[in-house]
């Protein structure tokens, strides 16, 4: 049966990148559709009526929403190649990526969206959170252990935004979290990651445009 896979996405989206990586890891051919978020397509609104957000994975006409749910779904359906989640139920239960969504994403946003005192606080908290994650990594090559897995997929997209965060906040993430950067560079050596992440300079240019749009100096 011909599998039809479509991904509704937006090139700088950290969440979209996760699904791109998962699809690439499994070697799945899909149609990538770029959305203009200021002018959302009828297809997007139909496929994600509740949130009207990207990414949306459409498999044989049926939508799957929420990036981490998409990664899990991709892992389950195309389970014969490159497993992303552990098979052991207890290990699966301890493999957590929601901290990344709840903390890192919000703190990172505040780093580029604010200035002065607010930004200083955001930077401090952002680095603290990155250090916690670095501690989780420990001396393992990947969060998943010996092989690239679910948490790696969930977190590596942020690397494409690091340059933008650093320039906006005037700090070096590598100086604060060298192990994390080493991990990121290791992940970037994988083709599935390298071709799914946008160029860091391009992301920074995009952020500068957003700042202008929001009137942030």
């Amino acid at each position: 049966m011909a599998e039809e896979v479509v991904l509704l996405d937006f090139w700088p989206s950290l969440f979209g990148m996760r699904s791109r990586i998962a699809l690439a890891e499994k070697g799945i051919k899909y149609e990538y559709k770029e959305e203009d978020l200021r002018n959302k397509s009828a297809l997007l609104l139909q496929m994600n009526p509740v949130h009207k957000k990207i990414p949306v994975l459409i498999h044989n006409g049926k939508p799957v929403c929420e990036s981490l749910i998409q990664v899990q779904y991709i892992d389950e359906v195309w389970h014969d190649k490159a497993p992303l989640l552990p098979s052991d139920p207890y290990q699966k239960a301890t493999v957590r990526a929601d901290y990344i969504d709840k903390k890192i994403y919000d703190l990172g946003s505040r780093v580029w969206k604010t200035k002065g005192e607010e930004q200083a606080t955001a930077k401090k908290e952002f680095i603290e959170s990155l250090k916690l994650i670095e501690k989780e990594l420990g001396d393992k090559p990947y969060f998943g252990g010996e092989s690239f897995g679910y948490v790696d997929v969930a977190f590596i997209p942020f690397y494409s935004w690091f340059y933008a965060y650093e320039k906006c906040g005037n700090f070096s993430i590598e100086a604060e979290c060298p192990k994390l950067i080493a991990w990121a560079k290791r992940c970037m050596q994988k083709e599935s990651v390298a071709k799914s992440l946008p160029d860091q300079q391009k992301v920074y240019d995009f952020i500068l445009q957003m700042k202008k749009h929001f009137g942030i100096e």
Partner: protein, 223 residues
Amino acid sequence: MAVVELFGTWFSPYAYRVIWALKLKGISYEYIEEDIRNKSPLLLQYNPIHKKVPVLVHDGKPICESTVILQYIDEIWPQNPLLPADPYDRAVALFWIKFADDKVYLMSKLYQADGEEQRAAVKEWLEMLEVMEEHALIGGKKFFGGDEINMVDIAFSFVAHWLGVLEDVVGLEIFEPHKFPRVSSWIQNFKSIPLIKENLPDADKMSAFSKHGREMMLASKSN
């Protein structure tokens, strides 16, 4: 024989999710009541990052976060499944569980608010209920899980029982049954299930406890 322990608090909707799941599957467990103002060393050891309940401990191994716990329970004890077997149906169920989980904060948002903030909180509640009504309960199903409850029903349980207590505490009627007929039907069906009916914290007790806490909190806010 494996030992299952559950750390919870008597009013926590999250703890009840785990209680129902364990009972649905017929798993015996030891329940440990935690005083959130005076957390036990064991709890802090099992959940060092968030220090919250519920925590399920299976054979000495701790699992935190109610949704994660429920998925774990479902895998270890597959009888009376909480999630669909089909990957697509499961993805849809997980979507609604995330939606519900992302909205539970509305409980404390409304609890802590007065004046303008309260109006904003009520608006958000109504928006959530509308999504449930228009998108989640379509198809004339008795439960989110179909003919039987599943993890999605459990995830939305805060709407079925805890919302009523909250309305009493803040003195507002937010949920008008005639405006949300599907949700209303679902609430009645959900609370009629013996397993649920017999395992709910006492509404009056929760109301009195919460009212007192709210008075104190609002008083300290205005000082």
